[in-house]
């Protein structure tokens, strides 16, 4: 009876490990970015660039209708310590807020004319991408909560 129970526990542990593993791999699955062609055209026209500077993550920060709605997110972005793997693009900002929050990031591209809106990119607010082999994956619309979740998944 005791052996049976130990075997049961072993199988239970194995199943739990498998579930944990599958949920981990699920969170870092790479989902293709449907509008990548439009985004590369944008990069080319706005910055004469179609590579992502060997970075792991891309942040795109367009202007927001409601600054108060993104205050917490901007604070989180500003306070990130491990930012060496980020490429940041900010779009059409008259305020100095985005300059402040991105001042510590190694590469910040500035689209002051708002060229982004002339391309089909599916970007309407602060957006995150995972970069792999110079391709964009996992387009994610950002808010403070989602940023927190991403920071756990990608461990920055």
């Amino acid at each position: 009876m005791k052996c049976f129970s130990l075997a049961n526990s072993f199988y239970l542990l194995l199943i739990l490990l498998l579930i944990a593993n599958s949920s981990c791999s699920k969170s870092t699955d790479l989902k293709p970015y449907e509008y990548e062609e439009g985004f590369l055209n944008y990069m080319n026209d706005a910055f004469a660039e179609t590579t992502f500077y060997d970075k792991d993550y891309l942040l795109v920060l367009p202007d927001q209708a409601c600054l108060a709605c993104v205050g917490d997110l901007y604070q989180s972005i500003q306070s990130i310590q491990d930012n060496a793997n980020f490429l940041v693009i900010w779009v059409q900002s008259k305020s100095s807020i985005k300059d402040t929050i991105t001042s510590n990031f190694p590469i910040v591209l500035k689209d002051k004319e708002g060229v982004l809106q002339r391309y089909e990119t599916n970007i309407g607010g602060p957006t995150f991408f995972k970069i792999e082999n110079n391709q964009l994956f996992n387009q994610t619309n950002l808010n403070a909560e989602i940023w927190k979740e991403l920071s756990i998944i990608y461990q920055w």
């Binding site: 449907e34 409601c66 599916n122 309407g124």
Partner: protein, 388 residues
């Protein structure tokens, strides 16, 4: 008993199924064929440009503004939490009213404001209605009553860009605003009465009214144009929908539906097609707003006893360079209506001249943000003065 009840219920449910769908016949259905001709009369037009030395938020969608006392433009500055007053005749900032940014009097997420007089400025927020004076001092706070005849609303909403406004009804001592409902389906959400009159003395909703036309809730949606344009003039509340040719008139006090008038533009097709409900990408919405021809808003001109319906014309998705066309940079027109909503004329404005997302009426005419003289330091308005 049971054998009698069951067939009885079956017969009753069959009879109910055969009855006309009451939900789809709450306001008269607009007959397209009768809404095509336009009575064209001569209108005269004078044009001028007014410039104000003021910065403006880059994102026009967030602008909250209103004209008071015939030539004063009040603009909410969300960065500094102030109501800034500009004199359009003198073309300068004349006053700045501070609103509390912290503490119990905090003005949180301002949706719209109504300037009754210097001692009574109503401010509609997410969860409350505030009454302040022109020194920014709070006089009273009313909690929003989410309960209506239609159940529990998701929240109030106002949008000066669409002309969906907070209004004040002196006869009822009430304010009137729009509620969003979020039901299991989009079709169910747009079958709710959308407007409420909120009594200031009873501190509760006393009237629910206003229906979406049948154009809405048919398996498509209209993005920014899902919400109507609403103004109240005297005892009439007027609803104009982005994707519907009709102009719907209600009794503002009782909420009774009165009539629907033809407000069709000669530049729009009979049927305005929306976005399929299974397309939810941001880009789908942008592409729709770029290409579709729609009615942006309806404005009242009390100085000339006219109404203006602002029409965005259809355009191609991409320009000759393969870039997306400017969403609001195409052609527009203004349908000019008399007090009885008879169309007098439709005046076309070619692309890249005006941006009607910022548009209002004051003593000198109908004003649009100028696309021609836009800069970071100052705003220029193109003023159109029509007269019969």
């Amino acid at each position: 008993m049971r054998p009698i009840i069951i067939p009885g219920l079956l017969i009753l449910s069959c009879l109910m199924a055969c009855m006309p769908d009451e939900e789809n016949s709450r306001v008269p259905t607009f007959i397209e064929d009768t809404c095509t001709s336009i009575q064209v009369k001569q209108v005269t037009l004078k044009k001028k440009t007014v410039t104000i030395q003021t910065p403006i938020e880059a994102n026009l969608y967030s602008l909250k503004y209103r004209v008071i006392d015939s030539s004063k433009l009040i603009v909410f500055d969300g960065t500094h939490n102030t109501l800034n007053q500009y004199n359009l005749k003198e073309q300068k900032l004349t006053k700045s009213i501070p609103l509390a940014s912290e503490g119990p009097n905090k003005v949180n997420n301002l949706l719209d404001f109504y300037w009754h007089n210097q001692d009574s400025i109503f401010i509609l927020c997410d969860h409350e209605l505030l009454l302040v004076n022109d020194r920014g001092e709070r006089i009273k706070k009313y909690l929003i009553d989410y309960q209506t005849d239609e159940g529990t609303a998701a929240g109030p909403y106002a949008d000066p860009v669409l002309g969906l406004r907070l209004d004040y009804l002196p006869e009822l001592q009430a304010v009137q605003f729009y509620f969003i409902f979020v039901e299991k389906s989009y079709a169910a959400s747009v079958r709710k009465k959308m407007l409420v009159n909120f009594s200031l003395s009873q501190e509760q909703n006393i009237t629910s009214f206003g229906w979406f036309p049948d154009t809405y809730g048919k398996g498509t949606y209209f993005s920014l144009f899902d919400d109507p344009s609403k103004i109240t003039v005297g005892r009439h509340t007027i609803l104009s929908f982005g994707a519907d040719h009709g102009i719907y008139i209600y009794n503002a006090l009782s909420g009774d539906f009165e009539e629907v008038e033809c407000g069709k533009s000669q530049y729009l097709p009979n049927e305005i097609k929306g976005i399929s409900l299974d397309k939810e990408d941001y880009q789908d919405m942008v592409n729709f707003e770029t290409t579709a021809g729609l009615y942006l808003k309806i404005l009242h001109d009390p100085f000339r006893n006219l109404f203006y319906r602002i029409v965005k014309h259809p355009q191609e998705l991409k320009d000759e360079n393969g870039q997306l066309s400017s969403r609001w940079g195409g052609a527009w027109s203004i349908i000019i209506l008399d007090q009885s909503f008879n169309r007098i004329a439709e005046y076309k404005i070619e692309g890249s001249q005006i941006n009607p997302l910022l548009s209002f009426v004051y003593a000198d005419g109908l004003c649009f943000l100028s696309q021609l003289q836009y800069s970071e330091e100052k705003i220029a308005y193109e003023v159109f003065q029509f007269s019969q």
